[in-house]
């Protein structure tokens, strides 16, 4: 419960309609898109502008009250669950596009803007903003920046960090920080812009962002290749890259996912396929045609069971159905769906998928894997039931081993979802003791009283890594 006096101070800043602490507001800000996590905040505040954010932060800083910035709450790492209580700061009211600068090809936006609305707006102007997390119909730009969201186009176009060139953010003290600008080059000191991208709300509250826009590709072609052998599919991925082709999309479905998707969408997919690759290339017509026929040849050279190239937009849509249905199909299998994002160098995809399958069998759990093969970012997805605590323990044990395997293969515990609460015990496996200490130093410099999204990224206790030997 928040002290009445502090409540009054907060209401004086945002007005009575934009501070809430009734049961309804607290319960509906106690979770995000992460399964099985819930913690009630003490209040919810909806600031209208940077000045209000600054004033609110000053009050919270004075009283040492934690604050969790929140967009739409779709993250998958427990990033916006207020585990230490405090105030959830919802950025939805700050949702304007402040400027699209056609001379510099930049856009300046507020953090509460829905990603999809932004993309629709700038596409109408003939421009392109590539980051496309699958939650983009409801996720916010601010949330995407906080988590450094990826998406299907990451392989060729990079992720959110590659498009954020300037930020305005409010520090824990209430001071307003400005970084970067409409600048393609800027080496004035540490790159605070990139540091804030992916900082998961632990360093500052982002209140404005300047984003880089690029010209859109003129055409796009889609193809699908199916394999009876996982290694052949993996070799195809490597060969495409070796041949100096960077496809705009290079997605992967494993056999378990293919079966689930086919059962759900009745696509008549051959169920004995060990892997399906969905490949897209965009750009100028000539280059696209050349790349796609080269890729087709590579697929056939790697013994693909079948290769289909879409000749029309409708055909492309059909080929995309399997990949697009993956999440939906998996989500309907069991009540609880746990989607992770272990990532490895793309040359290790086959090894990683086989490790995941071995680990799933070992723990007797269902894990289907799909994801972005082109950038090594896999989504091993466990379908389970939160009410069965014995099974949940097995799922957790399996994921722990999957993270360990990813690290062993030169990968990471998270490629695009963030550390948050869920992966904090494993962070040290990736960045080492020294890495943790440096990060804690940065955290302290920004937020000395640990008020911004406390409990995230840094675990109370790191998990002891058990390196398993397999022979």
């Amino acid at each position: 419960m928040l002290d009445e006096k502090i409540k009054k101070e907060l209401i004086a800043v945002v007005g009575p309609n934009y501070f809430k602490d009734d049961a309804e507001a607290l319960v509906t800000h106690s979770y995000d898109g992460t399964p099985m996590l819930q913690a009630l905040p003490d209040g919810v505040i909806y600031p209208e502008n940077t000045e209000q954010v600054s004033q609110v932060m000053k009050i919270l800083n004075k009283h040492r009250i934690p604050v969790v910035g929140r967009g739409s709450g779709t993250n998958l790492c427990g990033g916006t669950v207020p585990i230490n209580g405090g105030i959830v700061m919802v950025m939805h009211r700050m949702n304007r596009i402040l400027e699209v600068d056609l001379e510099n090809l930049t856009a300046t936006v507020q953090p509460g803007l829905i990603t999809k609305s932004f993309i629709t707006h700038i596409e109408a102007l003939g421009l392109f903003y590539p980051p496309d997390p699958s939650s983009m119909a409801i996720s916010t730009i601010g949330g995407n920046i906080a988590e450094c969201s990826g998406g299907l186009r990451g392989l060729k176009y990079g992720t959110t960090k590659d498009y954020v060139i300037g930020l305005e953010a409010v520090l824990a003290s209430g001071e307003i920080l400005r970084t970067g600008g409409k600048l393609m080059k800027d080496v004035a000191g540490y790159d605070l812009t990139k540091l804030l991208v992916g900082s998961e709300g632990t360093l500052a509250i982002i209140t404005e962002a300047t984003l880089k826009l690029i010209p859109p590709p003129s055409t796009k072609k889609t193809m699908l290749a199916m394999y009876k052998d996982l290694n052949e599919a993996a070799r195809t991925v490597s060969k495409i890259i070796e041949n100096r082709i960077i496809p705009s999309t290079l997605e992967f479905l494993d056999n378990a996912t293919v079966r689930v998707v086919d059962d759900f969408a009745k696509l008549g997919l051959p169920l004995d396929m060990e892997a399906i690759l969905l490949i897209e290339q965009d750009g100028d017509q000539e280059a696209v045609d050349r790349d796609i026929s080269l890729i087709e040849a590579i697929c056939r050279g790697e013994n693909a069971h079948s290769v289909s190239v879409a000749e029309s937009a409708e055909e492309a849509l059909k080929l995309l159905t399997a990949r697009r249905s993956a999440f939906t199909a998996l989500a309907r299998l069991r009540p609880t769906t746990i989607l992770e994002d272990a990532t490895v160098p793309r040359s290790k995809i086959a090894e990683m998928v086989m490790e995941i399958n071995r680990i799933a069998v070992k723990h007797g759990v269902t894990i289907c894997t799909f994801g972005h093969a082109g950038d090594g970012n896999l989504h091993p997805t466990a379908t389970t039931d939160a009410r069965d605590s014995e099974e949940i323990h097995r799922v957790e044990a399996a994921f722990e081993e999957i993270f360990e395997a990813a690290i062993r293969l030169g990968g990471t515990i998270t490629g695009e979802h963030g550390v948050g609460l869920v992966k904090s015990p494993f962070l040290e496996w990736k960045v080492g003791e020294a890495g943790i200490e440096v990060m804690k130093g940065i955290k302290h410099a920004f937020d000395p009283h640990n008020l911004l999204n406390p409990g995230k990224i840094f675990a109370k206790q790191s998990r002891k890594r058990v390196v398993l030997q397999h022979g």
């Binding site: 106690s30 898109g33 099985m36 709450g73």
Partner: protein, 479 residues
């Protein structure tokens, strides 16, 4: 301070602790709410952009994910259902646009009905007009078709006798809240004679019979839109269907089910199943999305009643909307613009711009989201020769009618309607067509309030098509 609740560890103890402490409403909610469905919601948030009340308010609590979280919090004993909770459950339109958007296939419609059913047993917080409307609608009028007809007669008397002008003139209507006054003004002329009184119960197919369909006439439809029902039968007959209208059928029970009067809905379901079972029809056709949707869910409604399970499934599987039936199974008649509608001045070669009449369509939420039919009405509208169909921006979004929502929740309904009319006006259509009487009345109200002086006509798709059916060509367009 807050505590982390990892469900696995605490759920059992919460359950035990809460059962003893819970107030009666919380206990009823706990009993009513389907635990599997509550668990199935994985809180991904994909439903948020589909939800009209979330879009209007931007508040998580006003979203399907938020409402389910509230229900689950009550079921888990984390919160006690208060007035704000009741209000939030009633603030949902029940448009169910969240269901097609949900990756996990959560049956949100069932959850909200279960919540409302529990609330209705315990609430005393309805405003006076809500109470009286509910009382009349659920207990007195809708369950009894003869009373509906009587009411229709009274309404007709009121409308024709000069009582209406007297009431309006004397300022009597001012006693009612503004939104009720608005509604009264756009009510169509009612009729005490329903379709069976007008046409009898059996109608032959024109040409070779394709199938026998039982027509669900609807209670409101049959009193307020008898003419549309008559035209529905004629359209069906022209398309090759034999039509039977079982006279023992009653109200569909949708308003009951959506408003927490489940037992009333079940009673009506049993009555209707018996009526159509006796008629032994191939299809059960509805011309109102709101009715059709609940009819397809009779199997769920009666799932606890073993002796009804088979018949309810028989019934639910046969239900189909008029547009879908025509497009998928019928011999479509030829539809063409009316004489006088052709634009002779326009010499453009482009067929669409040649058309003098532009039409647009407002989806019925339940037709689209529950019966999952959105293409068939559009296919039919595009087939009318000389008429241009333009898609309205966000035609799939609720207009705010939502059963009796526009009466019980006038503020939100009014806000939705205003935004809806911005999109409707932008189409510059001459006709706005709908597939449900509630939407039709609401859109009429919209044109009256926010039509910006346009003469946009609001019609049921059946009326529009029937008027433009070129009968003599029907036989030659057999496909």
């Amino acid at each position: 301070m807050a505590k982390t609740m990892e469900r696995n560890d605490t759920a059992a103890s919460q359950k035990e602790a809460s059962l003893t402490k819970l107030n009666p409403l919380a206990q009823k909610l706990k009993l009513n709410l389907n635990e599997d469905q509550l668990t199935n919601c994985m809180r991904c948030g994909f439903c948020l952009p589909a939800c009209p009340t979330f879009r209007e308010t931007g508040l998580e609590a006003e979203s399907p994910r938020g409402r389910i979280a509230l229900m689950k919090a009550v079921a888990d004993g984390i919160m006690s259902p208060d007035e704000v909770f009741e209000e939030q459950m009633n603030h949902c339109l029940g448009c169910r646009a969240c269901e097609p958007a949900c990756p996990a296939d959560v049956k949100y419609g069932q959850l909200i009905e279960q919540a409302r059913d529990a609330i209705e047993d315990h609430t005393n917080s309805h405003r006076w007009w809500v109470k009286s409307v509910r009382g009349v609608v659920f207990k007195q009028l809708f369950p009894k078709q003869n009373r509906m007809r009587l009411a229709g007669g009274a309404l007709q008397l009121y409308q024709r006798s000069g009582l209406r002008s007297l009431a309006r003139g004397a300022g009597l209507m001012k006693l009612f809240p503004e939104h009720l006054r608005d509604m009264e003004a756009i009510l169509p002329d009612a009729s005490p004679k329903g379709i069976v009184q007008r046409m009898g119960t059996h109608h032959r197919a024109k040409g070779e019979k394709i199938a026998t369909v039982g027509m669900f006439r609807g209670c409101l439809m049959d009193v307020m839109f008898t003419e549309t029902n008559v035209k529905t039968v004629e359209l069906l007959s022209a398309a090759g269907f034999e039509v039977i209208i079982p006279d023992s059928q009653g109200c569909c029970g949708a308003l009951h089910a959506h408003s927490g009067e489940t037992s009333g809905a079940k009673k009506l379901a049993r009555q209707n199943i018996e009526a159509f079972k006796a008629a032994n029809v191939d299809y059960i056709v509805s011309n109102a999305g709101g009715c059709g949707a609940i009819l397809t869910e009779y199997d769920h409604l009666l799932h606890e009643e073993a002796e009804w399970r088979e018949d309810a499934a028989w019934f639910a599987n046969r239900v189909i909307d008029i547009s879908d039936l025509l497009v998928r199974h019928g011999r479509l008649p030829f539809f063409s613009e009316l004489a006088g509608e052709t634009n002779k001045q326009n010499k453009s070669d482009d067929a669409a711009s040649k058309a003098a009449i532009r039409i647009t369509y407002q989806d019925s939420c339940h037709l689209r989201n529950v019966m999952r039919s959105s293409n068939a009405p559009r296919t039919l509208m595009r087939q009318v020769e000389g008429v241009e169909f333009v898609e309205m921006h966000e035609a799939d979004r609720c207009c705010g009618s939502a059963g009796i929502y526009n009466i019980t929740q006038p503020e939100m309904a009014g806000q939705l309607l205003e935004h809806k009319m911005e999109n409707a006006n932008a189409t510059a259509a001459h006709y706005l067509l709908t597939s449900n009487p509630g939407c039709l009345l609401q859109m009429k109200l919209g044109v009256q309030k926010h039509g910006c002086g346009t003469q946009m006509k609001v019609e049921h798709i059946v009326d529009f098509l029937h008027e433009r059916m070129v009968e003599k060509q029907a036989a030659s367009t057999i496909s």
